[in-house]
Symmetry: C2
Subunit: 82 residues, 2 copies
């Protein structure tokens, strides 16, 4: 089983990386892109013991809170993928 | 309109960042995570002119090929979000 954690900068936080990508797209002549935000796509391969734990989602949230996301400036979503 | 480009390392490419995250999770006592892969979640805000272009998906693929992904070691998926 796999879990996907999507980590994004909070809406009101500046995204220098996204801005750099946008400038590069403009520079390469790609028109029509008003803004770019860059986040993390973290895929966790889970072993069966964890995958079947009743509190799996909760444990994933604790991992995200403590390690995968900086919750001061980032939000995250957890998705389970069988 | 928004487009999401998910960029992942190709399956057979080593992921030092993912390995570092896994070691940290182990170190913090999170059991049951067999592997971690870290990718990019790129969100593009599109202006109406581009959003309604008949070749929008093709133009996004060219952006990904030329700029958003390193196609030597990365794969990508493009998704349109209204």
């Amino acid at each position: 089983m796999k879990a996907i954690v999507r980590v994004r900068l909070k809406r009101d936080v500046l995204d220098p990386q996204g801005d750099a990508v946008k400038r590069a797209l403009d520079h390469l002549g790609f028109e029509g892109v008003k803004g770019v935000r860059v986040g993390k796509l973290i895929e966790l391969e889970l072993d069966p013991a964890l995958a079947t734990a009743p509190d799996l989602e909760q444990r994933l949230r604790v991992m995200a809170d403590e390690m995968l996301a900086n919750t001061v400036v980032e939000d995250y979503e957890v998705e389970l993928v069988s």
